[in-house]
C-alpha cells in the first residue's frame, strides 16, 4: 500500500517550472524525479508566507515511520490558485508527490497531493 515511487515526468515539469513562488527552486534542483509517498498521514498545513509548509508522517515498506516536511508556495500564491487552508486536515490519509531537497533528508518541494476522495490537487 505504501510505496515510494520515483517517476520521470519531464513534460509535466516544463509547465510547472514557474510555480516556484519565491525562490527559484535551487534547493530542489532535480525536478525530473518525482517522489510519490502513498499513505502519508497529515499532521499540519502551515498556510503562511513566504512559503507554506506541509507536515506529515510516512511509513515505508519496512514499517519504519518518520516525520516529513513539504515546502509549498506562499499563502498568497496558494489563494490565487484556489488552494485554501482547509485543503487537508490533521489525520487525513493522502498521497504526497514532490521533488527532493538537495541536502535536507525527508524534505520535499510538494508538486501535488491526492486527497482522501481521490482528487489530485496540483500545487503552484
Amino acid at each position: 500500500m505504501k510505496t515510494a515511487t520515483i517517476g520521470t515526468l519531464a513534460a509535466f515539469f516544463v509547465i510547472n517550472t514557474l510555480a516556484f513562488a519565491h525562490h527559484g527552486g535551487s534547493m530542489y534542483p532535480d525536478r525530473e524525479t518525482v517522489v510519490i509517498l502513498e499513505g502519508a498521514i497529515i499532521d499540519e498545513l502551515l498556510y503562511v508566507n513566504p512559503h507554506g509548509r506541509l507536515l506529515f508522517s510516512w511509513t515505508d515498506d519496512n514499517g519504519a515511520n518518520a516525520e516529513w516536511e513539504g515546502e509549498l508556495s506562499g499563502s498568497t500564491e496558494l489563494v490565487r490558485s484556489g488552494v485554501f487552508s482547509d485543503l487537508v486536515q490533521s489525520g487525513d490519509q493522502v498521497t504526497v508527490k514532490g521533488w527532493s531537497h538537495n541536502s535536507i533528508p525527508r524534505n520535499l518541494r510538494v508538486s501535488s497531493i491526492v486527497l482522501p476522495d481521490g482528487r489530485e490537487v496540483s500545487l503552484p
Binding site: L18, S26, L46, N49, P50, E71, G74, T76, E77, V79
Partner: protein, 245 residues
C-alpha cells in the same frame, strides 16, 4: 460668483476629460502601449554574465540560505529577486513618478520622473533611489543607493553603495511586458555587467492580496542544522538584540 465659475469650469473640464478618455480607449489603444496595470510573470529568463570575482566566489561558497537570506525571515528581498517572484505587481503612471507595487513582500517602488536626483544624505535601501526616463516607448530606470543584497537564491552578492547600480528597461508590446535588468558591480562581477530578461503578461481584473509574513511562522528561517545545535543556538541568539537586565 468665483466659486460658481470654477464649478462650471470643473464640470466642463470633466466632460472634456471623459471624452478624452473615451477616445484614448477606442480599440484599447491606450492600454496596448501603456505600462499601467497589473502584470504577472511569464518567463524568468536566466542570467547572462553572472560571473563572480574571487571575493564573490568566497561569499557564494559560504552562503547558507537559512541564515543568509533575509526573505526567509520576512524581510523584503531587493529589486531583482522581488521582480522574479510569482505574485503579480502593479504599475501606476503619474506625471512626477511611476509607482511599481509588488504584491510580494508589499514592496513599493517610486520611480522619479521629474528629474529629481537623490539627495546627498539619502541612506541606502533594498529598493534604492530610482530615476526614470523615456527613450522612445521604452522606460529606462537607473537605480542607485542600494543596500548590499542577493542577486539570486544561491546567494550571489550585490555590493550596493556608490559603485554599484541597476538599470532596467521596460517595454510593452500588446499584453506583454519585457523587463531587462542590467547589473553593474565591479566588486562582485568579473565582466562589466550581468543581465537578465523577464517577461510578464498583462493581468486584467487582477486582485491583489496583502503579503502577510510573520517571522515567527515563516518557514525556512531556522538554525543551521550542524553537528553542534547548542553552539548554533547561542550564535543565533547573539544576532538578536541583547536583553537588558
Amino acid at each position: 460668483m468665483k466659486q460658481q465659475f470654477f464649478n462650471n469650469l470643473k464640470n466642463i473640464s470633466h466632460s472634456i476629460l471623459l471624452i478624452t478618455l473615451s477616445i484614448l480607449t477606442i480599440n484599447g489603444y491606450a492600454q496596448e502601449t501603456s505600462l499601467s496595470g497589473a502584470w504577472v510573470m511569464d518567463d524568468r529568463g536566466s542570467w547572462t554574465g553572472l560571473l563572480p570575482t574571487n571575493s564573490a566566489q568566497e561569499v557564494l561558497a559560504a552562503f547558507d540560505p537559512s541564515t543568509g537570506d533575509p526573505s526567509m525571515r520576512c524581510v523584503a528581498p531587493a529589486l531583482i529577486r522581488t521582480a522574479e517572484s510569482a505574485p503579480p505587481f502593479e504599475i501606476i503612471e503619474q506625471n512626477h513618478q511611476i509607482l511599481i507595487i509588488y504584491e510580494s513582500f508589499n514592496v513599493v517602488r517610486r520611480v522619479n520622473m521629474d528629474g529629481r536626483k537623490a539627495p546627498e544624505w539619502l541612506p541606502l535601501s533594498p529598493v534604492g533611489y530610482s530615476v526614470g526616463t523615456w527613450q522612445g516607448d521604452e522606460l529606462v530606470i537607473e537605480t542607485t543607493h542600494l543596500t548590499p543584497h542577493l542577486l539570486n537564491d544561491d546567494g550571489f552578492p550585490f555590493d550596493g553603495g556608490s559603485d554599484a547600480r541597476i538599470i532596467e528597461k521596460y517595454k510593452v508590446t500588446g499584453d506583454r511586458l519585457e523587463v531587462e535588468f542590467s547589473v553593474e558591480d565591479p566588486t562582485n562581477l568579473q565582466g562589466e555587467m550581468a543581465t537578465r530578461i523577464f517577461t510578464y503578461d498583462r493581468l486584467p481584473d487582477a486582485m491583489f492580496f496583502h503579503y502577510h509574513c510573520d517571522p515567527l511562522d515563516a518557514t525556512g528561517w531556522r538554525l543551521p542544522t550542524t553537528e553542534n545545535p547548542l553552539r548554533d543556538l547561542l550564535q543565533w541568539l547573539e544576532l538578536r538584540p541583547s536583553i537588558p537586565e
